[in-house]
């Protein structure tokens, strides 16, 4: 298994603890494990969008389960990242409906613009471009996911603008007001 040994600063603060407790309250007292996926999302969001082994072990401890039960889940679901992914990860949908509307070309354009290959992080640690499978925005193709939000009906110009916004620090991955 490829496991990242990059050290991650773990900070499960008061806000995060409160949120975890809220999520735990959604399940019966003896079914804490059920909260695993939502808790992992919250914890990952609060830790630069990736989950080190130590962090996964902490989650196991919080839920009172074996660490392997967390590893099994983290490696199954694609949204959990096991290594640092770069600040802004552009996840292009490239399944059929997006592909026929030019997703592949657009992704290539983005890679070329940022000077990376698919999956690589830019040297400044800012960007990463990956191709993913259907995100459920087929009618608004081509599109990509950035943090918790979708960027749809993409064009080269829109990509340029998004990259600019990211560089200018104008993009909030998780707490953007829901206006789109």
């Amino acid at each position: 298994m490829e496991v990242s040994n990059i050290k991650q600063v773990i900070n499960i603060d008061e806000r995060l603890t409160a949120r975890i407790n809220e999520l735990l309250s959604h399940y019966p007292e003896d079914k804490k494990k059920s909260a695993l996926l939502p808790v992992l999302h919250e914890v990952q969001d609060a830790h630069d969008n990736w989950l080190s082994v130590e962090l996964q072990d902490r989650v196991a401890e919080i839920l009172g389960i074996q660490p392997i039960e967390v590893y099994e889940v983290v490696t199954f679901y694609t949204m959990f990242n096991q290594q640092p992914i770069g600040k802004y990860m552009f996840e292009f949908c490239r399944t059929s409906c997006c592909a026929v509307r030019g997703a592949e070309d657009l992704m290539e354009y983005t890679c070329t613009k940022l000077g990376v290959k698919e999956g690589e992080v830019t040297p400044d640690g800012m960007f990463r471009v990956v191709g993913v499978e259907c995100l459920g925005a087929c009618g608004y193709a081509p599109m990509m996911q950035l943090g918790d939000y979708y960027k749809e009906h993409l064009t080269k110009e829109k990509i340029d603008a998004i990259i600019e916004d990211c560089r200018a620090g104008k993009v909030d991955l998780h707490k953007q007001a829901i206006t789109e």
Partner: protein, 456 residues
């Protein structure tokens, strides 16, 4: 103009909020059901309505409800399947994003019918902003007294929460969804036992699609008999169709079942014809896993009947000349599309999404993808077409869950209807090197190269 049941108020400003939703008649079905109907009466109404599961399989919802085990005395659960991930399908997202309270209202009424006191909405993790919208809406519903203890003073208690997945198509399969909801890997369970007997935490559970649940309030308000009047035959009511691909106006549409494919495709009210007016080449009418239809079988069936947007008409002719309504993911392809590349694309999807639990799917989906990738990239062999056929045949029906079938069908249908394109790829590798080979030179123009030679 067809009747709108689900999206009637979708464009009302502020309908996302509780106040506006309530002003437009929201939560009436909860009042009606809890105060004047027994749970069994609600189930009866849904049965009468003929509503069929909108997730893809089309199993009658009322009948599914009647299977839930009430004798054991164990707590029961209703779980809403909002793990919409079938390529081509994005209707549930639209519904939840724009009218979240409709789903919550449906969940309350349906939970009451099933006697559930703890219910969940399982939404795919990528829809994180929709997850937040639903969380907010649920909080509003709690605050307004529609959820919690002793709802409307009737003594009925219900807790409803939204639970997010984390990127796995397989969790749309109901038992995988339940596993995932229990905090495990999304491996589908071996059935029997079915969820209706042993589901979430081994309790009796019903899993329903978002759209099915969202139809329940209207059915309760207007009676099942009224609902059954919409549509044709066993395809009752309205259906959300997600249209994508090379059509002029992609998006989500609510149609009355029974509309003709021709009208849906070509009228300005719906898709408005083809993008850039290029010719239509193929259609996937119900999400990536249903068989693809070639142009000559789209508007008319092999029998010469008009093809309608109903469960029955779309599957007329079986897999030989028909397809399925499935989840309503309507993907339109024009003549620039390479069917081989598209089939490879679908295969890559299923390969990526196979859970890996049972051998035919784990090994077979990867094999399909690899062979298709070779053909698409000019390294195909003549015998690969037979090989593909044989692999898909060996996956189909031999797996734990329907993902195996879903991976096999698109390959089978592509070979069945577009075999000559596969042959073209194998025989003229130089011509297909560029992935956009059909843009400059659509297949129609080169078809003669692989046509069977007639000896005169």
């Amino acid at each position: 103009m067809g009747q709108k049941i689900l999206l009637e108020h979708a464009n009302v400003p502020g309908i996302k909020t509780y106040e506006v939703y309530r002003q437009h008649g929201g939560y009436r079905s909860v009042e009606k059901a809890l105060k004047s109907m027994t749970p069994d009466e609600v189930v009866e109404e849904v049965k009468t309505s003929g509503l069929r599961g909108r997730g893809g399989a089309g199993f009658p919802t009322g009948m599914k409800w009647s299977f839930i085990d009430k004798k054991s005395g164990k707590p029961r659960h209703l779980v809403c399947n909002a793990d919409e991930s079938e390529p081509g399908t994005f209707k549930d997202r639209y519904l939840m994003e724009y009218i979240p309270h409709l789903l919550i209202e449906g969940m309350i009424t349906s939970s009451y019918a099933l006697g559930c006191n703890l219910s969940y909405i399982y939404i795919r993790g990528e829809y994180m902003w929709v997850f937040r919208i639903l969380e907010t809406a649920i909080k509003e519903a709690y605050a307004a007294g529609w959820l919690g203890k002793n709802i409307l003073g009737t003594g009925y208690d219900l807790d409803l929460y939204v639970h997010c997945g984390a990127g796995a198509y397989i969790c749309g399969e109901e038992t995988a969804l339940i596993e995932s909801l229990e905090g495990k890997r999304g491996n589908p369970r071996i059935k029997p036992p079915f969820p209706a007997v042993s589901g979430l935490w081994a309790n009796p559970t019903v899993v329903n699609n978002v759209e099915s649940i969202a139809a329940v309030p209207w059915i309760v308000n207007n009676t099942g008999a009224e609902y059954a009047k919409i549509g044709i035959g066993r395809s009752t009511g309205t259906k959300l169709i997600s249209a994508s691909g090379h059509c002029k106006n992609p998006g989500v549409y609510e149609i009355e079942l029974g509309l003709s494919v021709d009208e849906f495709m070509n009228s300005d009210e719906y898709l408005g014809g083809m993008m850039d007016d290029r010719p239509l080449k193929a259609l996937v009418p119900g999400g990536s896993s249903v068989p693809i239809l070639p142009a000559n079988l789209i508007f008319k069936t092999a029998e010469g009947n008009d093809r309608l947007m109903t469960y029955e008409s779309l599957s007329e002719g079986g897999f030989a000349t028909g397809s399925m309504l499935g989840s309503g993911g309507f993907i339109v392809y024009n003549d620039t599309t390479c069917i081989v590349r598209n089939t490879w694309n679908f295969s890559r999807f299923y390969h990526h999404e196979s859970c890996g639990q049972c051998s035919p799917c784990r090994e077979g989906t990867g094999w399909l993808e690899k062979v298709l990738h070779r053909i698409e990239n000019g390294h195909g062999r003549e015998e690969d077409i037979e090989l593909l056929w044989d692999i898909q045949r060996k996956i189909e029906g031999n797996t734990i869950c329907p993902l195996g079938d879903a991976a096999a069908w698109p390959v089978a249908a592509a070979i069945r209807h577009f075999r000559d394109e596969f042959e073209y790829h194998v025989r003229f590798p130089e011509k297909i090197k560029n992935k956009d080979h059909f843009v400059a030179e659509p297949f129609e123009k080169v078809k003669h190269l692989v046509a069977k030679q007639e000896v005169i």
